[in-house]
Protein backbone atom coordinates (compact mmCIF):
# COMPACT_ATOMS: atom_id res chain seq x y z
CA UNK A 1 0.00 0.00 0.00
CA UNK A 2 2.83 2.36 1.01
CA UNK A 3 4.66 1.24 -2.15
CA UNK A 4 1.69 2.22 -4.33
CA UNK A 5 1.45 5.63 -2.66
CA UNK A 6 5.17 6.19 -3.09
CA UNK A 7 4.92 5.28 -6.77
CA UNK A 8 1.98 7.62 -7.26
CA UNK A 9 3.86 10.43 -5.48
CA UNK A 10 7.04 10.01 -7.53
CA UNK A 11 5.14 9.78 -10.84
CA UNK A 12 3.26 12.94 -9.81
CA UNK A 13 6.53 14.73 -9.12
CA UNK A 14 7.91 13.62 -12.49
CA UNK A 15 4.76 14.80 -14.28
CA UNK A 16 4.94 18.24 -12.62
CA UNK A 17 8.65 18.48 -13.42
CA UNK A 18 7.97 17.64 -17.08
CA UNK A 19 5.25 20.28 -17.18
CA UNK A 20 7.62 22.85 -15.67
CA UNK A 21 10.27 21.89 -18.27
CA UNK A 22 7.74 22.41 -21.07
CA UNK A 23 6.90 25.85 -19.62
CA UNK A 24 10.61 26.75 -19.52
CA UNK A 25 11.07 25.56 -23.12
CA UNK A 26 8.10 27.74 -24.14
CA UNK A 27 9.73 30.71 -22.38
CA UNK A 28 13.02 30.08 -24.20
CA UNK A 29 11.15 29.88 -27.52
CA UNK A 30 9.47 33.22 -26.75
CA UNK A 31 12.84 34.67 -25.76
CA UNK A 32 14.27 33.44 -29.05
CA UNK A 33 11.50 35.11 -31.04
CA UNK A 34 11.92 38.44 -29.28
CA UNK A 35 15.64 38.01 -28.71
CA UNK A 36 16.87 41.05 -30.58
CA UNK A 37 14.37 43.34 -28.85
CA UNK A 38 15.15 41.89 -25.43
CA UNK A 39 18.88 42.35 -26.07
CA UNK A 40 18.23 45.91 -27.24
CA UNK A 41 16.20 46.68 -24.11
CA UNK A 42 18.86 45.15 -21.84
CA UNK A 43 21.69 47.04 -23.59
CA UNK A 44 20.00 50.44 -23.76
CA UNK A 45 17.84 50.47 -20.63
CA UNK A 46 19.60 48.20 -18.09
CA UNK A 47 23.26 48.40 -19.00
CA UNK A 48 22.84 51.90 -20.55
CA UNK A 49 25.41 51.31 -23.27
CA UNK A 50 24.50 52.87 -26.60
CA UNK A 51 27.26 51.62 -28.92
CA UNK A 52 26.60 49.06 -31.61
CA UNK A 53 29.29 46.64 -30.34
CA UNK A 54 27.55 46.29 -26.96
CA UNK A 55 24.24 45.57 -28.69
CA UNK A 56 25.83 43.00 -30.98
CA UNK A 57 27.65 41.29 -28.09
CA UNK A 58 24.53 41.18 -25.92
CA UNK A 59 22.45 39.79 -28.80
CA UNK A 60 25.01 37.09 -29.63
CA UNK A 61 25.38 36.12 -25.97
CA UNK A 62 21.59 36.02 -25.61
CA UNK A 63 21.13 33.66 -28.56
CA UNK A 64 24.05 31.43 -27.52
CA UNK A 65 22.51 31.21 -24.06
CA UNK A 66 19.13 30.21 -25.52
CA UNK A 67 20.80 27.45 -27.57
CA UNK A 68 22.42 26.19 -24.37
CA UNK A 69 19.02 26.50 -22.72
CA UNK A 70 17.45 24.25 -25.38
CA UNK A 71 20.18 21.63 -24.90
CA UNK A 72 19.73 21.67 -21.12
CA UNK A 73 15.93 21.70 -21.14
CA UNK A 74 15.48 18.98 -23.77
CA UNK A 75 18.01 16.82 -21.91
CA UNK A 76 16.11 17.40 -18.65
CA UNK A 77 12.84 16.46 -20.38
CA UNK A 78 14.36 13.26 -21.82
CA UNK A 79 15.84 12.43 -18.40
CA UNK A 80 12.44 12.83 -16.74
CA UNK A 81 10.79 10.71 -19.48
CA UNK A 82 13.32 7.94 -18.85
CA UNK A 83 12.67 8.07 -15.12
CA UNK A 84 8.94 7.86 -15.75
CA UNK A 85 9.61 4.59 -17.63
CA UNK A 86 11.65 3.35 -14.60
CA UNK A 87 14.90 3.73 -16.52
CA UNK A 88 16.98 5.33 -13.79
CA UNK A 89 20.51 3.97 -13.41
CA UNK A 90 21.31 3.71 -17.08
CA UNK A 91 24.16 4.95 -19.26
CA UNK A 92 21.74 7.01 -21.39
CA UNK A 93 20.80 9.05 -18.31
CA UNK A 94 24.40 9.80 -17.39
CA UNK A 95 24.98 10.83 -21.00
CA UNK A 96 22.04 13.26 -20.72
CA UNK A 97 23.50 14.63 -17.50
CA UNK A 98 26.74 15.15 -19.37
CA UNK A 99 24.89 17.20 -21.98
CA UNK A 100 23.22 19.23 -19.21
CA UNK A 101 26.62 19.91 -17.62
CA UNK A 102 28.17 20.98 -20.92
CA UNK A 103 25.16 23.17 -21.74
CA UNK A 104 25.43 24.94 -18.40
CA UNK A 105 29.19 25.41 -18.73
CA UNK A 106 28.73 26.85 -22.23
CA UNK A 107 25.99 29.17 -20.95
CA UNK A 108 28.36 30.28 -18.20
CA UNK A 109 31.10 31.00 -20.71
CA UNK A 110 28.64 33.00 -22.84
CA UNK A 111 27.62 35.06 -19.82
CA UNK A 112 31.28 35.58 -18.95
CA UNK A 113 31.81 37.06 -22.42
CA UNK A 114 28.98 39.52 -21.68
CA UNK A 115 31.09 40.99 -18.85
CA UNK A 116 32.85 43.16 -21.46
CA UNK A 117 29.56 45.04 -21.70
CA UNK A 118 28.02 44.36 -18.31
CA UNK A 119 30.32 43.24 -15.46
CA UNK A 120 27.33 41.97 -13.48
CA UNK A 121 26.94 39.11 -15.97
CA UNK A 122 29.74 37.27 -14.15
CA UNK A 123 27.24 36.41 -11.43
CA UNK A 124 25.09 34.62 -14.01
CA UNK A 125 28.19 32.70 -15.10
CA UNK A 126 28.98 31.70 -11.54
CA UNK A 127 25.40 30.49 -10.99
CA UNK A 128 25.48 28.47 -14.24
CA UNK A 129 28.84 26.90 -13.35
CA UNK A 130 27.69 26.13 -9.82
CA UNK A 131 24.61 24.28 -11.12
CA UNK A 132 26.88 22.48 -13.63
CA UNK A 133 29.03 21.34 -10.70
CA UNK A 134 26.00 19.97 -8.85
CA UNK A 135 24.80 18.11 -11.97
CA UNK A 136 28.32 16.73 -12.44
CA UNK A 137 28.31 15.42 -8.86
CA UNK A 138 24.94 13.76 -9.44
CA UNK A 139 26.26 12.28 -12.71
CA UNK A 140 29.28 10.84 -10.86
CA UNK A 141 26.97 9.30 -8.26
CA UNK A 142 24.86 7.78 -11.05
CA UNK A 143 28.00 6.36 -12.74
CA UNK A 144 28.99 4.67 -9.47
CA UNK A 145 25.44 3.40 -8.98
CA UNK A 146 25.43 1.91 -12.51
CA UNK A 147 28.74 0.15 -11.82
CA UNK A 148 27.36 -1.23 -8.54
CA UNK A 149 24.12 -2.30 -10.25
CA UNK A 150 26.10 -4.13 -12.95
CA UNK A 151 28.09 -5.88 -10.23
CA UNK A 152 24.85 -6.90 -8.48
CA UNK A 153 23.18 -8.01 -11.72
CA UNK A 154 26.20 -10.13 -12.61
CA UNK A 155 26.44 -11.77 -9.19
CA UNK A 156 25.21 -15.35 -9.58
Amino acid sequence: MADKEEKRYSSGVIRISKLATIVFIALVVMADIGGYFIAKYVTYCWIEKFDIMSLVLTTVVFYVATVCGYVVLFSVYKLLSNMEKDIVFDVCNTRLMGYITMGLIAAGIACACETFTWPGAIFLSVVAWFIALIVLCVKTAFDKAIAMKDEMDLTI
Binding site: D150, E151, L154, T155, I156
Partner: protein
Amino acid sequence: MIVVNLDVMMARRKMSSGELASRIGITQANLSILKNQKAKAVRFSTLNDICKALDCQPGDILEYREDEEE
Protein backbone atom coordinates in the same frame (compact mmCIF):
# COMPACT_ATOMS: atom_id res chain seq x y z
CA MET B 1 41.70 -13.55 -13.24
CA ILE B 2 39.37 -16.31 -12.03
CA VAL B 3 38.27 -18.69 -14.78
CA VAL B 4 35.10 -20.74 -14.38
CA ASN B 5 35.54 -24.25 -15.77
CA LEU B 6 31.90 -25.23 -15.52
CA ASP B 7 31.78 -26.67 -19.06
CA VAL B 8 34.50 -29.18 -18.22
CA MET B 9 32.76 -30.46 -15.09
CA MET B 10 29.37 -30.55 -16.82
CA ALA B 11 30.86 -32.61 -19.67
CA ARG B 12 32.46 -35.02 -17.16
CA ARG B 13 29.20 -35.50 -15.32
CA LYS B 14 27.28 -35.56 -18.64
CA MET B 15 24.91 -32.88 -17.43
CA SER B 16 23.17 -30.33 -19.64
CA SER B 17 22.87 -26.59 -18.83
CA GLY B 18 19.12 -26.87 -18.36
CA GLU B 19 19.45 -29.75 -15.91
CA LEU B 20 22.19 -28.07 -13.88
CA ALA B 21 20.30 -24.75 -13.80
CA SER B 22 17.15 -26.40 -12.49
CA ARG B 23 19.13 -28.44 -9.91
CA ILE B 24 20.86 -25.40 -8.45
CA GLY B 25 17.84 -23.11 -8.77
CA ILE B 26 19.13 -20.45 -11.13
CA THR B 27 18.00 -19.49 -14.62
CA GLN B 28 19.76 -20.77 -17.71
CA ALA B 29 20.61 -17.17 -18.55
CA ASN B 30 22.49 -16.78 -15.26
CA LEU B 31 24.22 -20.12 -15.76
CA SER B 32 25.26 -18.93 -19.19
CA ILE B 33 26.69 -15.73 -17.64
CA LEU B 34 28.73 -17.92 -15.32
CA LYS B 35 29.96 -20.24 -18.09
CA ASN B 36 30.93 -17.35 -20.38
CA GLN B 37 33.17 -15.67 -17.76
CA LYS B 38 30.81 -12.67 -17.61
CA ALA B 39 29.91 -13.06 -13.92
CA LYS B 40 31.35 -10.50 -11.52
CA ALA B 41 30.77 -12.55 -8.36
CA VAL B 42 29.40 -15.90 -7.20
CA ARG B 43 27.57 -16.38 -3.94
CA PHE B 44 28.85 -19.13 -1.65
CA SER B 45 25.36 -20.60 -1.61
CA THR B 46 25.39 -20.88 -5.43
CA LEU B 47 28.90 -22.38 -5.39
CA ASN B 48 27.72 -24.83 -2.73
CA ASP B 49 24.77 -25.90 -4.89
CA ILE B 50 26.96 -26.24 -8.00
CA CYS B 51 29.48 -28.45 -6.18
CA LYS B 52 26.66 -30.53 -4.75
CA ALA B 53 25.01 -30.99 -8.17
CA LEU B 54 28.29 -31.81 -9.95
CA ASP B 55 29.81 -33.75 -7.04
CA CYS B 56 33.05 -31.80 -7.15
CA GLN B 57 35.20 -29.31 -5.25
CA PRO B 58 35.22 -25.52 -5.79
CA GLY B 59 38.75 -25.86 -7.15
CA ASP B 60 37.43 -28.11 -9.92
CA ILE B 61 35.25 -25.28 -11.15
CA LEU B 62 37.29 -22.16 -10.30
CA GLU B 63 40.83 -21.63 -11.54
CA TYR B 64 43.18 -18.67 -11.09
CA ARG B 65 45.07 -17.52 -14.19
CA GLU B 66 47.53 -14.67 -14.57
CA ASP B 67 46.04 -11.71 -16.46
CA GLU B 68 47.96 -10.84 -19.63
CA GLU B 69 48.01 -7.18 -18.46
CA GLU B 70 49.49 -8.20 -15.06
